[in-house]
């Protein structure tokens, strides 16, 4: 009787965690229902606001080509004093999109770890699974969940808010990179909150500093992409997301395990 050297099957173990979470979510939907409901309610609420404001802004001349209007007639009164950098409809809509996605993510993505602690299944998982496989499996699940939510919210956003996107590939690039960043951030912060006794009020203050660069790059990037102007935000965004996820993976063992 001896202990044979372990034959690692890290991907298989990661996939097992991912599939377990998918199966569990399909049977007792908590995270996806929370995120979708939150996202939809926010989107509908915002759509009423922006429609009124949008019409108002258009009537006032705050439209995407106001620069051309100013060039044609420097004395034109476009909102009286509209300085450079004032949020245009593109920027406002880009900001609203990410606000919807941010708060939806905050409401649902940490559930994957909180549920383990609430259901008291975390000790069995700690006992049997490699911490790195747990992190990767949960990250995969959160990425899948976030992209699913985006695939539902974004078409509705297009339909209800008419953002007039000019550079589609770049816009989708920002959307995907930003969503991955949100999923990555909420995975590690969700684990920290779950370990802190499920104090969900800690979620926002812990996540916000980590998510702030992602939000800044994503909002500016999507605004630029929708206006069709170059904006060098994608590389910094992707770099930040890669660095943040790598660091989270390295630190996860200290968050997850007591040893």
């Amino acid at each position: 009787m001896s202990v044979k050297p372990a034959r690692e099957n890290w991907w298989g173990e990661t996939w097992a965690v991912f599939l377990k979470d998918v199966r569990s979510e399909m049977r007792t939907p908590s995270a996806v229902a929370t995120i979708l409901l939150f996202g939809l309610v926010t989107l509908v609420t915002v759509s009423f606001l922006v429609r009124v404001e949008g019409q108002g802004l258009t009537e006032l001349g705050l439209i995407e080509n106001y620069v051309e209007v100013l060039q044609a007639d420097p004395n034109a009164r476009i909102l009286g004093t509209v300085p450079e950098g004032t949020p245009t409809r593109h920027a406002v809509l880009a900001g609203l999109l990410w606000i919807i996605l941010f708060f939806s993510a905050m409401a649902g993505l940490p559930r994957t770890f909180l549920k383990e602690e609430e259901m008291r299944t975390a000790p069995a998982l700690r006992l049997t699974a490699l911490p790195s496989a747990v992190f990767a499996g949960k990250l995969l699940f959160n990425v899948g969940l976030m992209l699913t939510v985006v695939s539902v919210i974004f078409p509705l956003y297009l339909f209800m808010l008419h953002p007039w996107i000019k550079n589609w590939p770049l816009f989708v690039g920002y959307l995907v990179a930003g969503s991955l960043g949100m999923a990555g951030s909420t995975t590690i912060v969700g684990a920290m909150v779950a370990r802190a006794g499920g104090r969900t009020y800690l979620m926002l203050p812990l996540a916000f500093p980590i998510l702030l660069p992602i939000l800044v790059f994503a909002i500016n990037g999507t605004a630029a992409a929708s206006r069709g102007i170059p904006g060098n935000y994608l590389i910094p965004l992707v770099s930040y997301v890669v660095a943040m996820v790598t660091l989270s993976a390295l630190l996860f063992d200290y968050v997850w395990s007591d040893r």
Binding site: M1, S2, V3, A6, E13, S24, R27, T28, T121, R126
Partner: protein
């Protein structure tokens, strides 16, 4: 055996400066301490001399001066034990004495504040990451996934441990613990006794070298108790068994005893 595990059999006193918690042999003739309090209906366990002669060096569990505190409160301190293949360590003590905590420390779920838990195979320490394949724990605090079926729970824990998934073996295990025909039912719909049975199936799937049982027959009916009897008998021939209990029906399995929270 008493004292640090390096030279356990040379010690003549149950207590020493480093190791305050005695582990006594469950053999009337071999007890070296005056507070031996258990009677073993199965007869003498391996005596120190015969134990040394027949020592199986392949697999051992070592508790080296293990101390655990929660804040300023000391749960137990300087616990020492050495358990070898084929032996059963029974941990007893009043409520709150730290029995379950000790099992959690052995399982690696909680870190000791001082000392170490080591698994030694063929003279070499087993890596921490490999423990999850050789150790199983059945405890009231350990919960299976209620939204998965019994079979899915077994599959998940097998795969996440990196073990090959054998459906037939899992079905047989579930039948063995009395859950035949309930494989496809969600464990969330099980009674508390059935959940315990499912936990045993999950624990036994890996054929663990070390099996830790916290209150092994709690919630089980008579047939469940008989199943646990069989499990314990098999484990004694396969590897190491650690029981945390105060139930006299269960303490009779012990070869070694560890009483936490003072002298019995």
């Amino acid at each position: 055996m008493v004292g640090p595990s390096a030279t356990p059999l040379e010690r003549s006193t149950p207590y020493d400066a480093d190791c305050r918690t005695p582990v006594v042999f469950n053999s009337r003739g071999d007890l070296t301490v005056s507070n031996a309090f258990w009677d073993n209906p199965r007869g003498p366990a391996t005596a120190p001399a015969t134990r040394e002669a027949g020592r199986n060096p392949l697999f051992e569990l070592h508790l080296d001066n293990v101390t655990k505190r929660f804040g300023h409160r000391s749960v137990f301190s300087n616990v020492c034990a050495e358990v070898r293949t084929g032996e059963t360590l029974v941990v007893t003590g009043h409520n709150g004495s730290g029995k379950s905590t000790l099992l959690s420390v052995i399982a690696g779920l909680l870190p000791p504040d001082r000392g170490a838990v080591r698994f030694v195979s063929g003279g070499k320490d087993v890596a921490v990451d490999d423990r999850r394949r050789i150790l199983s724990l059945v405890a009231p605090d350990l919960t299976l996934y209620p939204e998965l079926t019994a079979l899915e729970n077994l599959e998940f824990f097998a795969r996440v441990r990196g073990l090959p998934w054998q459906r037939e073996k899992a079905v047989q295990l579930l039948a063995r613990v009395g859950l035949a025909g309930r494989e496809r039912d969600l464990t969330g719909t099980f009674s508390s006794g059935m959940r315990v049975r499912a936990k045993y199936a999950v624990a036994l799937y890996s054929e663990p070298l070390v099996l830790l049982l916290d209150e092994p027959t709690a919630m089980l009916d008579e047939s469940g108790v008989q199943i646990v009897d069989q499990v314990i008998s098999e484990q004694r021939s396969r590897g190491i068994l650690v029981l945390a209990t105060n139930d006299p029906r269960e303490t009779r399995y012990g070869d070694l005893f560890l009483h936490l929270g003072g002298t019995a």
